[in-house]
């Protein structure tokens, strides 16, 4: 396939493109969905596609195709060059990263046993369902193997392959009594589907007979599952593209304090066994660990070559050719055990999961998100009641400022709601604004 990406780039240049990138991805993905403790559907994807990007005198156009025949590619390139000719120069496009580069394979990122999993996946599903030990269990198991091939006109010819497997499980008992657990890995021997079921089942059991909560300010312990959702928002807001487009509360804050000194947050696109890890970005730049926030201070936005040029800095290996993005969000661990963290709370709430996070204003950070699954009232460090019907209505920057304690324990989180894989701890946040329906 690398021969083909090379040929596409050469052909694009011969047709008049000044820069060209071709990336082909092949993937085989298997999925088992289940609900009410029964399998509901088994799905398989066998896909190949090519992404082609060209610049012609700073006029930027791209395409995605699945027909990789010679005729299809030639027609596509001709159409692309024609389109570029009538387009307008981008004022922000600054070229591609000049290679070649030396790459270091991502550690713990490929396991043939995942690629060959077959119907063993069914056993994983039932092991998670059984581990939950709940009245009803729903969820999904994915396993995937993939390859990518990248060539650019700036001297890049690179390829890599990977595997991944993940389980998301939600356990239900009586009305409004539910819990959620997830597990994900790049290697089979680091994958524990039972742990997802066990956690979901434990929270569902603890969530017995929830009662309506009072609105007000509470100290909140966010579970890694719920805090990962908020860290996803912070990670996305670090993309230089989002900063310029108005989708970020981190705009204009470089070098300034944006969070409590306890918070250090990174994009670690090359993390060992990182669920989103790759060896190189979409320009072919080796991926790296980039500090977004260090000790509460905003250190870097995430860049490709073009956004880096605007900010007079170097690419962070986070291309997206148009918009840079984080691949693994990693928060530094703190010094507390989970129990010690709970001991810090006199009167507060433990939120195990959230969903539907929406911003009133991306620029100033005001948002709300809805806890789902177990929500618990904590008094003097102990869980004393199960709650329901609340909403976190606050500001992302204020939440990051009010982080008061962080656990040593961290979990990798990736599921339907948390799209960017995130290594998140338990976090205690002071004075979180909790609202609920007024009628």
């Amino acid at each position: 396939m690398l021969d083909l990406t090379e040929q596409i780039v050469k052909k694009a240049l011969s047709l008049g493109a000044s820069d060209a990138v071709a990336e082909i991805t092949k993937d085989k993905t298997h999925q088992i969905r289940f609900a009410n403790s029964d399998i509901t559907v088994m799905q398989n994807w066998h896909q190949v596609s090519a992404e082609i990007f060209i610049a012609l005198q700073k006029k930027v156009v791209s395409t995605s195709i699945s027909d990789l025949s010679k005729d299809s590619i030639e027609n596509t390139l001709k159409n692309l060059v024609s389109a570029a000719k009538v387009s307008e120069p981008s004022s922000t496009y600054k070229g591609l990263a000049e290679g070649p580069f030396k790459y270091k394979s991502v550690e713990e990122s490929y396991d043939r046993r995942i690629a060959d999993l077959g119907d063993k996946a069914i056993d994983f599903v039932y092991s998670a369902i059984n581990a939950a030990n709940a009245k009803r269990v729903a969820g999904v198991l994915y396993s995937s193997s993939w390859e990518r091939f990248l060539s650019t006109s700036a001297g890049i010819n690179a390829s890599e392959k990977g595997t991944d497997i993940e389980m998301s499980t939600r356990a239900f008992n009586e009305k409004d009594e539910s819990g959620h657990g997830v597990a994900c890995s790049r290697l089979l021997n680091r994958f524990n589907p039972e742990s997802a079921g066990e956690k979901a089942g434990e929270i569902a059991k603890l969530a017995r007979k929830p009662i309506a909560a009072d609105a007000g300010k509470y100290d909140v312990i966010f579970d890694p599952l719920s805090f990962a959702d908020l860290l996803n928002c912070a990670g996305r807001a670090a993309s230089a593209f989002d900063v310029d487009a108005g989708f970020s509360c981190l705009a204009g804050m470089l070098g300034k304090k944006v969070a409590n000194f306890r918070l250090s947050l990174y994009d670690e696109s090359n993390a060992s066994n990182g669920f989103g890890s790759v060896a190189f970005d979409d320009e072919g730049v080796p991926t790296q660990k980039t500090a977004i926030i260090k000790d509460g201070v905003l250190k870097n936005y995430l860049h490709n070559t073009s956004t880096a040029a605007k900010y007079s800095t170097r690419t962070t290996g986070n291309a997206g050719l148009v918009a840079p993005y984080p691949r693994n969000i990693v928060m530094d661990a703190g010094g507390y055990s989970k129990d010690e963290l709970f001991d810090e709370v006199r009167n507060g709430i433990y939120i195990t999961n959230v969903w539907y996070t929406r911003f009133q204003n991306y620029r100033d950070g005001s948002f709300s998100t809805i806890p789902r699954d177990g929500i618990f009232l904590i008094q003097s460090g102990q869980i004393i009641k199960s709650l329901k019907g609340i909403r976190v209505s606050d500001n992302l920057l204020r939440i990051l400022q009010e982080i008061a304690a962080i656990s040593r324990e961290r979990d990798w989180i990736h599921w339907w709601e948390v799209e960017i894989p995130t290594l998140a701890p338990y976090a205690l946040v002071k004075d979180v604004n909790i609202t609920k329906s007024t009628m």
């Binding site: 399998i39 190949v48 395409t63 009538v86 119907d119 593209f241 310029d244 620029r363 329906s437």
Partner: protein
């Protein structure tokens, strides 16, 4: 790939109780303009086959985008084999609800075809919008526009003899504007979409709306005051009635949610199988979901289970009337499908999706709704919204909103928050106006996530005795 469908159906039917092959070819484009600069122009051509089989009450699906028959055959055989193996441990086995074979071919006619629009013409459309904002000399430092179009050709054949072929174009504009004053900001996100060609651009009245909204943001920053705290009456615009229809009526009436199939992802529902016939709102509320509206963003005439589409009346005069079904939930509940199965694209499973969900207009003039309010708030647009995963507790935070005193619109109020349960919302509606307007959205559901194009809307409506948060 369309020429392979019969051959693939034959292979899939061999060892399955039901088989279906869906072929799609999608040519699409996306143009992004950020702060006046063309950031990206993308043209994509995608095609693929989705093969569904039911084996002993177990559902298997294979998605392939190769023309290689050997690869397709391997994928199909794998789907049949795995579905068969999974069936052994299953307690709830379901075939599809009975349906007569349907055969039809339809196409949405375009006056200004998406495939004929050149890139420079599209750039000109966005530049015009960009200019309409920056020429006003107001402080709107961030402007983001994304213009999408597609032409989707779809052919579905199944082992029962159904054959449905469709060609549907779509055009969609999304934008976000950020206004700033002394470090304070307000933002407006909005979207327009139709199943049509570019002739719809003029009907959206986008040229007038974008500069007006930009100016409104700066006025909100300059003049809006805190909303009242006491109980008041509320007048909601079609935009607000639309999002409430979609979130707190359409979603909880999806039978797959009620059964629990989306439990670990988009969630379940506060509705129960026996909620039909129970009161959920006032007699002023009749709410429907209708895929058959010409040129609507959620338009189709046959769903992806090959079932003929029709209007579904979800709430009739305040009473729960009907849920949304596909053939899978139909089989489980032993009811006919009402044609709600849809996949957003070729590599997604068709599941129950809304199409165009809206409150039917009432018999009041819009002015009459305001005249009946002594003290209240009118919410015209919103930014933040969300709802819990059973669709019971929802929140809408107003953007452009006004105080009402003695039937008259007064000054702007800033970010009024309506946080309310679903029964309280629909029970508080005492009157609906005669008007009707739709908003555009991409509804998120399914796993993997599948954004389904939808409209949602309604008339202006009045809600009595509301306490804002």
């Amino acid at each position: 790939m369309f020429d392979l469908t019969d051959k693939v159906l034959k292979i899939a039917s061999k060892d399955a109780d039901y088989a279906e092959v869906r072929a799609e070819h999608i040519s699409s484009s996306n143009l992004v303009m950020k702060n006046g600069s063309v950031e990206s122009a993308e043209f994509s051509i995608g095609s693929g086959l989705a093969i569904r089989v039911v084996v002993d009450g177990s559902l298997g699906v294979a998605f392939v985008n190769s023309n290689d028959m050997k690869e397709i055959e391997n994928a199909v055989n794998s789907a049949v084999s795995l579905a068969g193996k999974a069936s052994h441990g299953m307690k709830t086995k379901a075939n599809f609800a009975p349906e007569k074979p349907n055969r039809a071919k339809y196409e949405v006619r375009q006056k200004k075809k998406v495939e004929d629009m050149s890139l420079d013409e599209k750039i000109a459309l966005l530049k015009e919008l960009e200019k309409s904002v920056v020429s006003q000399k107001i402080n709107v430092p961030m402007r983001f526009f994304s213009l999408n179009d597609e032409l989707r050709h779809k052919l579905i054949v199944n082992s029962e003899g159904s054959k449905i072929e469709s060609v549907i174009p779509k055009v969609n504009l999304f934008y976000m504007l950020t206004a700033e004053k002394n470090g304070d900001t307000e933002q407006r996100m909005n979207q327009f979409g139709s199943s049509a060609g570019y002739e719809m651009w003029d009907s959206w009245k986008i040229r007038e709306m974008v500069p007006e909204e930009a100016k409104m943001l700066t006025t909100i920053l300059a003049k809006a005051v805190a909303p009242p705290k006491e109980k008041i009456d509320l007048v909601l615009s079609p935009e607000l009635m639309g999002i409430a229809s979609h979130e707190s009526c359409g979603h909880p009436y999806e039978a797959d949610r009620i059964w629990g199939r989306e439990g670990a992802q988009a969630g379940e529902s506060f509705m129960e199988k026996d909620s039909i016939g129970k009161r959920i709102g006032s007699a002023a509320v009749t709410l429907v979901d209708d895929p058959t509206i010409e040129n609507s963003y959620g338009f189709y005439l046959y769903d992806d289970d090959c079932v003929k589409a029709r209007r579904r009346v979800l709430i009739k005069n305040g009473i729960v009337n009907e849920f949304l079904h596909n053939r899978w939930t139909g089989a489980i509940w032993k009811v006919p499908s009402n044609g709600a199965a849809r996949a957003g694209t070729w590599n997604r499973e068709p599941i129950i999706r809304m199409a165009n969900t809206f409150v039917l207009p009432g018999d009041h003039k819009v002015d009459e709704l305001f005249q009946g309010v002594k003290k209240g708030v009118y919410i015209k647009s919103y930014m933040e919204w969300n709802i819990d995963d059973k669709r019971f507790n929802q929140k809408y935070t107003g953007l452009e909103a006004y105080l009402i005193e003695n039937g008259q619109l007064k000054g702007l109020v800033r970010r009024p928050k309506l946080e309310i349960t679903t029964p309280a919302f629909w029970s508080a509606v005492d009157a609906c106006a005669k008007d009707l307007k739709f908003s555009t959205g991409n509804c998120g559901k399914n796993d993997p996530m599948d954004g389904a194009p939808v409209w949602f809307g309604g008339p202006h409506a009045r809600l009595r005795g509301i306490r804002l948060g």
